[in-house]
Amino acid sequence: MNPWATGIIHTLLLIVIMLLNGSMIIYMLRKVLGHLHLRLGPTELGPGGILQLVPDIVKLLVKEDRHPGTTDRWLYIIAPVIVFVPALMAYIAIPFSDKLIGFDVNLGVLMLFGFLTVIPLGIFAAGWGSHNKYALIGAMRAVGGAISYEIPLLLSALIPIMLAGSFSLKAITMAQTTSIWYWLPAFPAMVIFFICSIMETNQSPFDMSEAESELVSGFNTEYSAMRFGFMYLAEFSNNFIMAAIMVCLFFGGWSLPFIDPNSMGVFAPIVFIIKTYLVIFAFMFVRGTFSRYRVDQMLAFGWKKLMPIALVYSVVVAFFVKLISMKTGGGL
């Protein structure tokens, strides 16, 4: 087949998967938060209200694209794209199974984090370009949060990498099939990673840049119609990506215990998605329960608590990894 056609088809497939996934997570958020709050969530359209997303998307598409006159026009327009594209690109490095992976690079983890790091930039552009004080405060908070939480995030991600001896997500997953899943030896790292990914995806209790009760809607106050839709979708896509990374690093990817990873076949992506959605459920559960941090408390928590713990723990793990590898002459 023509490689161009294959490329285009794959790209479109990726976009469709991403959109479907984003919609599923939005539906799931509504249902989980609904039931958590003794409500029902959407019920009217389709079985269990699953088709509610269709009119929502149609509404976003046909809505007037309101554009405040005083914005920095270029930044205002490009910001949703900056937020949306990395969220889309990050899908290519996620190993849904040993074969279903877009682009298995050696440094897959780094590539994913690289994509995700661009998102706060987009949020900042949105906040700055909106010419709105609430949006600006939200943007500043997003940048501050991103700086202080990406360090412990990467430090805690280092631990499974050290344990597996590889940066490739596929290799890390495969390494977990031969030994135990890494959440057990790397439990503190998993907790830190979980907390930091909540921050990274701008969810309560770290939804600083959005902070509805303080900043109305934070960085996306001035956005409407499909531009807002992009931001909204990107948020859930990030959610999925962070959960997927977490599943790869700590919960054994597509593998299941006591089952030969090579005989999983078509079940592998299903197992992976179920695991990911369970992690997303944990995100949502936290989101619907807790109070928000204050911005200085959040920064203090990131710098003064999470980062030292992650640092010390990675040193400890490095030491033990070296010790074991000297004994056995190989990986863990």
């Binding site: 209790p205 303080e214 941090y293 204050r294 408390q297």
Partner: protein
């Protein structure tokens, strides 16, 4: 100037004009000069040893998710820190005090509901006390007890409407809905008792509108049976969580001196160490026969207010059990003429409202309508207090501090 109208030219205005657009109505003979916007009793100066940015003004409200009604708070910000603040109210002003002058004494209760829309029974009761005091009406005992039942149910409902949004303003969405669930049951009880969920029109001079309904009593007993467990749950979901505690401990401190000087009553005074509860110290109705405690906290911060009010919940539940069990038999309305004439004079009726002392001061000229009605809104005093607390904190603190005073702008603006 009407900023909501379509022909309002927003871009042509300077920031100063926009921020202070209702500054034109100076009440003094000479407009004061040289005072910066926002104006308040307290202002933080820039610390030369700390990093500071150019200050900017942020309009919070009147339609902001956490101003609970129509408060417009102008904040002067240095980054995230609030340097000074000014509260603008009046967006809900309906002239209730003036409207009261055009109505008969027995027809004032609906206006009182609309003044305090979260706890309408309490100002109704205060008004009834004032009229009964002036007209020397003998109120049947059962009416007093029914008033107290309705008042305590309403107090719990109103407190839920404070605690839930306090969680919501601090970012916790779940507690709000769990509290609204319980509030819903209480509203149904009040609806069954009074006929409406919020605008009760239940307490009249001389008694109450209707007797206890079996439906309301059954629902209330059912709720009371599990109320303590529910309150434990509400404590665990919100107040026990360290994330919430670190948001409220040591924030928005009202010292005892400040509370006295700025006229704090109710839970704000009690959280600042002022041992004063009208239900205990100047008992009206059946409260002298009830067994309840008054919780005092010393710190005056938001956490103290939360603790004091959680205890008010429990005391109200305790009182409701006693009230239901001891409800005396008899008529629930005194025999009154159809058109009540009240002798000339002045009178003051008070209750321990949901948010502080609600006092109704009535002037009568001997006719069927009051000559002048003054509604003492406790929140008006707390608003001035909250306004001086905001400078020095951050935006998030400002929001939580404002929420912790349980503002009800129907009451402030009247």
């Amino acid at each position: 100037m009407e900023p909501v109208l379509k022909d309002f030219d927003l871009d042509g205005m300077s920031v100063d004009q926009f921020v202070g657009y209702d500054n034109q109505g100076w009440l003094s003979k000479e407009p004061p000069a040289g005072i910066p916007v926002p104006r308040n009793l307290r202002r933080i100066a820039d610390d030369p040893h700390k990093m500071s940015t150019e200050h900017f003004l942020l309009n919070v409200g009147p339609s902001h998710p956490s101003t609970h009604g129509a408060l417009r708070e102008i904040l002067e910000l240095n980054g995230e820190s609030v340097m000074s603040s000014e509260a603008h109210v009046g967006y809900l002003h309906r002239g209730i005090e003036k409207l009261c002058e055009s109505r008969q004494y027995t027809h004032l209760a609906p206006l009182m509901d609309r003044a305090d829309y979260a706890g309408g029974i309490l100002p109704e009761t205060a008004l009834a006390h004032a009229v009964e005091n002036l007209a020397e009406i003998e109120v049947p005992e059962r009416a007093h007890w029914l008033r107290a039942i309705a008042a305590e149910v309403n107090r719990i409902a109103s407190h839920f409407l404070w605690l839930g949004p306090l969680g919501l303003d601090s970012g916790a969405m779940g507690p709000f809905l769990y509290m609204v669930r319980d509030r819903e049951i209480l509203q149904e009880i009040l609806e069954s008792l009074t006929g409406q969920r919020i605008m009760f029109n239940y307490v009249r001079p001389g008694g109450v509108f209707g007797d206890m309904t079996p439906d309301a009593e059954a629902k209330l007993r059912k709720w009371l049976a599990e109320a303590d467990r529910r309150m434990d749950e509400h404590w665990d979901i919100l107040a026990a969580s360290e994330l919430f505690q670190q948001r409220v401990k040591g924030i928005g401190v009202v010292s005892k001196e400040m509370a006295l000087s700025m006229g704090a009553t109710g839970f704000v005074a009690r959280a600042s160490g002022i041992d004063w509860d009208l239900r205990r110290d100047r008992p009206y109705g059946p409260y002298s026969k009830l067994d309840f405690d008054v919780k005092i906290a010393q710190d005056g911060d938001i956490w103290s207010r939360v603790v004091v009010r959680y205890d008010e919940f429990r005391q109200s539940i305790r009182m409701l059990r006693q009230l239901l069990d001891g409800l005396p038999e008899g008529p629930f309305m005194a025999k009154l003429p159809r058109v009540l004439r009240v002798p000339k004079g002045e009178s003051y009726g008070y209750v321990e409202g949901c948010r502080g002392e609600i006092g109704i001061h009535i002037y009568s000229d001997g006719g069927t309508k009051p000559y002048r009605v003054r509604y003492r809104p406790p929140i008006l005093y707390h608003l001035a207090m909250a306004d001086t607390l905001l400078p020095g904190g951050m935006i998030a603190d400002a929001i939580v501090t404002l929420a912790s005073f349980d503002f009800c702008f129907g009451e402030v603006d009247r």
